[in-house]
């Protein structure tokens, strides 16, 4: 089957919450997922990811806006008319049906013959590595196995799109890494358009073609993992994707597309600042810990810092530095080769102007 495009046009959903009153769970979201693409909705808990996904699935009807799957406007169709595969956070396996019956359920609904059903189920169970599990019941399976049954049940009906709502959050860390590889492999093998919801940035970066970062019901930025990491659109994205230092700075002067700022007691010249800066204004700037270089030498271009905390993690070491009134996190890789610094040691701190981000603040 040909992979299809998913398109959301300005969808909006408001709930009446018993305690919080009216909550706009999804606020004017537009989104396009190319055929065969794996897109992840990433954001903190309560930002509207699940609601968005449920509107694609048809469990929830948007108050406003349209949902397209392929060329078809499916906004008014019920979930059972949309031909989707949905994997729930809690798997939602049918507790009274065996693994075989769970997977066969969708095929029976389609009215397939039992010969075809047997064949299809066997094929899919093999695909997810559960051949021979057909007679077991859900409660007899481990979390990872239940997860795979859920996956098999979703793909066996050859859905046009696959939707995942935090499918790995009930698994332990190792299994989570393994299963996300499995999910990605399966999606590629079947060449199905997929939308995946998670609040785990590492999972999102590992699994996706594109990531849509959501906050408070809106999509803040869409891009590849790399784009989001290197060119975050605002402070929220920068803080959500990877770690980042937030430091106070002052604008000294603006001229010719350059800005000079005072940061950590020194002046830096940066390119292409956002437009709403004024000379003399106080701003925040952002620097990733891994962009900071540390050396034993001091003086010259280097700033001076004192190590106040050190966390040794094997392939890297994290430091917290005190620099005058400011504190700065820094990460040094490969400590075996480059050695580590002790708490209390004075170190030279190198910051290239290129790694300093001036970003729109939250809510601006």
């Amino acid at each position: 089957m040909e992979a299809v495009r998913i398109r959301l046009e300005q969808i909006q959903k408001t709930f009446v919450h018993r305690i919080k009153g009216e909550v706009t769970a999804v606020d004017n979201v537009s989104l396009e997922v190319a055929p065969g693409e794996f897109l992840t909705l990433l954001g903190p808990s309560g930002c509207g990811k699940t609601t968005t996904l449920r509107m694609i699935a048809g469990f929830e009807r948007p108050d406003r806006g349209r949902v397209f799957i392929g060329h078809e406007d499916v906004t008014d169709l019920m979930a059972n008319q949309r031909n989707i595969g949905f994997v729930f956070q809690n798997y939602a396996l049918f507790p009274h049906l065996s693994v075989f019956e769970n997977v066969a359920y969708g095929l029976k609904v389609q009215g397939k013959t039992s010969v075809n059903i047997d064949r299809e189920v066997a094929r899919v169970l093999e695909l997810v590595g559960l051949s021979g599990y057909g007679r077991q019941f859900p409660h007899q399976l481990s979390g990872g196995e239940q997860q795979r049954v859920a996956l098999a049940r979703a793909v066996v009906i050859e859905p046009r799109v696959l939707l995942f709502d935090e499918p790995l959050s009930n698994l332990d860390a190792k299994l989570r890494v393994y299963m996300r590889g499995e999910i990605r492999r399966l999606q590629k093998a079947l060449a199905i358009t997929a939308v995946y919801v998670t609040h785990d940035q590492e999972e999102a970066m590992a699994i996706s073609d594109h990531i849509a970062v959501m906050n408070e019901g809106r999509i803040v930025q869409i891009g590849t993992a790399e784009e989001l990491y290197l060119k975050p659109r605002d402070a929220f994205v920068a803080q959500f994707i990877g770690r980042i230092n937030t430091l106070s700075a002052e604008v000294l002067a603006l001229q010719g597309g350059m800005v000079s700022i005072s940061l950590l007691g020194r002046a830096f010249e940066l390119a292409a600042p956002p437009d709403n800066l004024t000379a003399g204004g106080k701003i925040h700037v952002f620097i990733r810990p891994e962009a900071v270089t540390l050396t034993r030498k001091t003086g010259g271009d280097l700033l001076l810092g004192v190590v106040t905390e050190r966390t040794f993690l094997g392939e890297k070491a994290d430091y917290l530095l005190t620099m005058g009134d400011d504190r700065l996190s820094a990460t040094a890789y490969d400590p075996l080769r480059h050695g580590t610094f002790a708490v209390g040691e004075k170190v030279g701190v190198g910051i290239e102007p290129g790694v300093i981000h001036i970003l729109k603040e939250r809510g601006q």
């Binding site: 979930a79 059972n80 939602a92 049918f94 009274h96 359920y105």
Partner: protein, 570 residues
Amino acid sequence: MPDAVAALNPSDRLRRMFRDPLLLSILIILWALLALFIVYPLASLLIRTFTDEGRFSLAGVFGILADPMQRQALWNSLLLGTLVGLCGTALGFLFAYTAVRTNLSKGWVFFLDAAVILPLISPPFTTAIAMIFSFGPRGLITYDLLGLTSVSVYGLPSTLFSETITFFPIAYLTLKAILAGIDPTVEDMAFSLGSSRWRVFRTVTLPLTVPGIANAFLLLFAASLADFATPLILAGNSFPILPTQAYLQITGMFDLKGGAVLSFVLLVPAFAVFLLQRFWVSRKYYVTITGKAGAKTEIKSVRPWMRHLLLAVCLLISVSILYFYVLLFYASIVKAFGADFTITWKHYHVVFTEGLQAIRDTLIIAGIGMPLGGIYSVVMGYVVCKKDFVSRRTMEIVSMINYSLPGTIVGIAYLLVFNDPPLMLAGTAVIIIACYVFRYGPTGIRTTVAILQQIDPSIEEGSSSLGASSGTTFRRITLPLILPAFFAGLGVVFIRSMTAISATIFLISINWTLITVRILEKMTELELGVAAAFSILVVVIVFAVIGAISLFLRLFRQPGAPDMANILGG
């Protein structure tokens, strides 16, 4: 009841109701039934109590309250209820604590469960008969063992003892569930903070159980308040209580109005308990039962000697219960208990000749009531839990009324309204069946709701995402999952049809009679052997049915399928 359905505003709800003709017609039928068999009889009872020659009047109530005998009955009922509540809860707690908090082996727990379930499924009078056989004038213990001749078995102490033994299983089942739900790691935590065992019990275990204890007390208070059979036999003339007074007023003095007023007096405390339970206890209840079974850590709550002591006490009581039943059986196969101990089958002969009509009638009534009760439970439970419609909460509360009220009230109310045209149902089987279905269906309704609440909505959405229509989803997913509730509802209606008497004693006729009523008759005719034989027969039938239902439940075993024993306790 948590809202499984998103809250809509009333006009949306109304509009939606009218767009779903199937739902609408089910609602109309349900409301018609509730109105006919619950609201209308109860309203008539109130009207009869508060009118005199067509005008509002408190004369009836004051008339009763002016009579010292009836005032005494009210006071006695409250006293007995309180005492049974206290003793039964204490005993239930002891059993429950021993069963789930002392690392008892499976075999012991099974034994305790078995001993405790007996009183729950027995016909009325069972413990009362056994009490008389043990402690009566020619009793096995008082006369044969101790040689006493002038003791009276009748009065408060024996009634209290008998009711405590009959009803404490309810407390046991309630408290067992809660105690078992307390994660041992919580106690571990308290130990790790340096508490002694006694202190852990006092500061952690007991406080977590308090809502359950309050609930158990209320359940027992209500059960005792409503109990009619035990006091009728054991209370005697010196200790009148309300249900028996109401019964005597109607059957002895043919004073329907007096009976109505008396049952209204009984209704007040019963209704207070209903409200307390619903709006106070049940709210606190859910706080404690967050119970996911935690890590399996050894329960260290009691010292070994304490454990042996607890077990010994429980054993003693269990053995006395079993002794009662052995005695009952023995009495049913000897010529005349206390006088002539020759083995004979003549009592059973009477049961199966003269008593055949009662057996046949009871089985027919139970057999018809059973499927109706099951269907009623499941439909009502599904509708109030899953559908959003105007009057949903009211419907749920009304459906529980007959269950919560003492049987005497329900019986008298039915007698009031179904005795005259146009609803001339008195004397038919219909009235008895209706009484059982609406009185005992609520157990099944609750089970249905409990199961539906455990079914995550995503399971139904899962079915929908696989292309199933809502009809298919209901048929293939929801229905099989609530099947256990169907069996529960059906089983409880059957068992109670075999064992209940307080409401239906007012509803029997020459055409339709019941085993339980025959037992009462035989007791008053002092044919205790026949009464014992009838009781044994009922116990055997009920056991067989419970066995069959448990088997069914096991076949449909799935997360959330309840235990038959727990259903009987609810």
